[in-house]
């Protein structure tokens, strides 16, 4: 019975692979990853499922799941489907936290207008890579960082600032930052050594900690999906994103959440999230922000700080791309883009000497094209320099 179900599972994968095996990628690292998938599938094809014991069947179940998950993202990361420019910018941010080039950012474009999320199913479970190496002698030097984004907004560079937050989820899980903050905050409260202001701040951002029963339950029952874990992770990712795009994602967040005043099990209130980021950006003394910063530094060796360079330009108002100088300015581009969107659009009319009014959808199209072109030009210039120097 079990082996027949494994046959079904593998048949489903073979059917998917019959199309996916023709995928083309612009990134050599993805091609290499794809070739490794082909090697594993070819090895499984040679296996006789009838003679496998329960443990061996379970192992194949996990491997086939891994292959499916990899394809789900690689299929949306081919030359023709990947939102190349935004992935490039996120990869630049990733270099600040992982200098070894061990990760490939891949995207899945999903049919949900609010479908921004980080999928940790592949990077989180290192054991599956070990098992694959032992079973099939295939070693993955690069792992996939899977980011979901809405298909209809894949080239919307205003909305896509929230992807920095999603990248923050990857960094959080890679270093298990939330887990440490979780333990340290509860220990601080339990120690009784916090002053009145520190206690008040903790209860403002995690109001349920005032309930003794809840406090004890959280202390004894850690899991990464309880509300305290979820809330810490969200605050961390907001903090992470604001290093690159300041408070730009707050514009979008406040709107799409209708500036939610109450927390849910998965997210803190939007007002708290916005305030948390503002404390960091304005350097307002804050026990919690300092706690997050210190713990992150102690684990990663990387400071939580401004990692962008502001773009001082009037190019977008003149309808021409910006010449980006370095990776830090790439992040600053989004702040400039948001500024142009939020400023009166008459600025564009005046600066570019056009004699007619621009509709909002025209400004939207123009602005996104200009941001995309600015990133694209930087990529070409960088690649050209690299090619010349090698």
């Amino acid at each position: 019975m079990q082996s027949k179900l494994l046959e079904l599972h593998f048949s489903q994968l073979q059917f998917e692979w019959s199309k996916a095996k023709y995928n083309n990628y612009s990134d050599l690292r993805k091609k290499d990853y794809h070739t490794k998938l082909a090697t594993i599938i070819s090895a499984i094809e040679k296996e006789n499922f009838q003679i496998l014991n329960d443990t061996e069947i379970t192992q194949r179940f996990h491997v086939i799941d891994f292959l499916f998950k990899s394809l789900e993202f690689l299929n949306n990361s081919t030359t023709s489907t990947i939102p190349f420019e935004i992935v490039y910018v996120l990869s630049e941010a990733l270099k600040d936290w992982s200098s070894t080039d061990d990760y490939i950012i891949v995207t899945s474009l999903i049919n949900n207008i609010n479908g921004f999320s980080f999928d940790n199913s592949l990077m989180f479970n290192d054991f599956i890579y070990s098992d694959i190496e032992l079973l099939y002698d295939v070693k993955f030097e690069k792992k996939l960082v899977q980011i979901n984004l809405p298909l209809s907004l894949s080239r919307d560079y205003l909305a896509n600032v929230v992807l920095y937050h999603e990248l923050g989820h990857f960094i959080d899980r890679k270093f298990e930052i939330t887990r440490v903050i979780y333990i340290e905050i509860l220990n601080s409260v339990a120690s009784g050594k916090l002053n009145t202001n520190e206690q008040a701040e903790i209860l403002e951002y995690f109001p349920y900690l005032s309930d003794d029963k809840m406090f004890s339950w959280l202390k004894d029952n850690y899991n990464p999906f309880n509300l305290f874990s979820n809330h810490i992770a969200e605050y961390f990712c907001d903090l992470f994103a604001s290093q690159y795009i300041k408070n730009c994602s707050n514009h979008y967040l406040e709107y799409i959440t209708l500036n939610q005043k109450n927390y849910s099990i998965t997210h803190p209130s939007t007002t708290n999230r916005v305030n948390f980021v503002e404390m960091f950006l304005k350097r307002t003394p804050s026990f919690l922000v300092e706690h997050f910063e210190n713990i992150t530094y102690k684990i990663t060796g990387v400071n939580v700080e401004n990692k962008l360079a502001e773009v001082d330009s009037k190019n977008f108002e003149s309808l021409i791309p910006v010449e980006i100088q370095d990776g830090k300015e790439l992040h600053g581009l989004f702040i400039y883009g948001w500024k142009v969107w939020l400023d009166p659009w008459d600025n564009i009319k005046k600066q570019s000497n056009i004699g007619f009014d621009l509709s909002q959808v025209k400004v939207y199209e123009i602005l996104n094209n200009l941001i995309e072109k600015s990133i694209g030009n930087f990529i070409v210039k960088t690649e050209w320099k690299l090619a010349k120097s090698s």
């Binding site: 298990e176 333990i183 999906f225």
Partner: protein, 103 residues
Amino acid sequence: MLYSHNLEDEKINLFILFLTKAIQGDQSYAPIVNDVILETHKYVAGEKNLYNIKRDSMNIILLLAGLEADYFKNIADNPEQYDNKIYSKVLNLLALQKSHMAY
């Protein structure tokens, strides 16, 4: 959703599977299992802390440390001495814990 997919469970399941393979005599799985047991020992013995224990197996290390700290404290710090008796003990701890987990 047809069923709840829990990555924490999945990770523990794979670790249990590796323990099982090691107990069954497949020595290729022993280094992975030993690494987690040794890291748990170092954590409860105070040689390592929350900030420098290995991140990829941190949740299992903290889980094991929370289940029976004294056992791991007294375990040898030489993985070559880890045997089926230790693997079986760890397997039982995790199996018991899994039966009580309610995410």
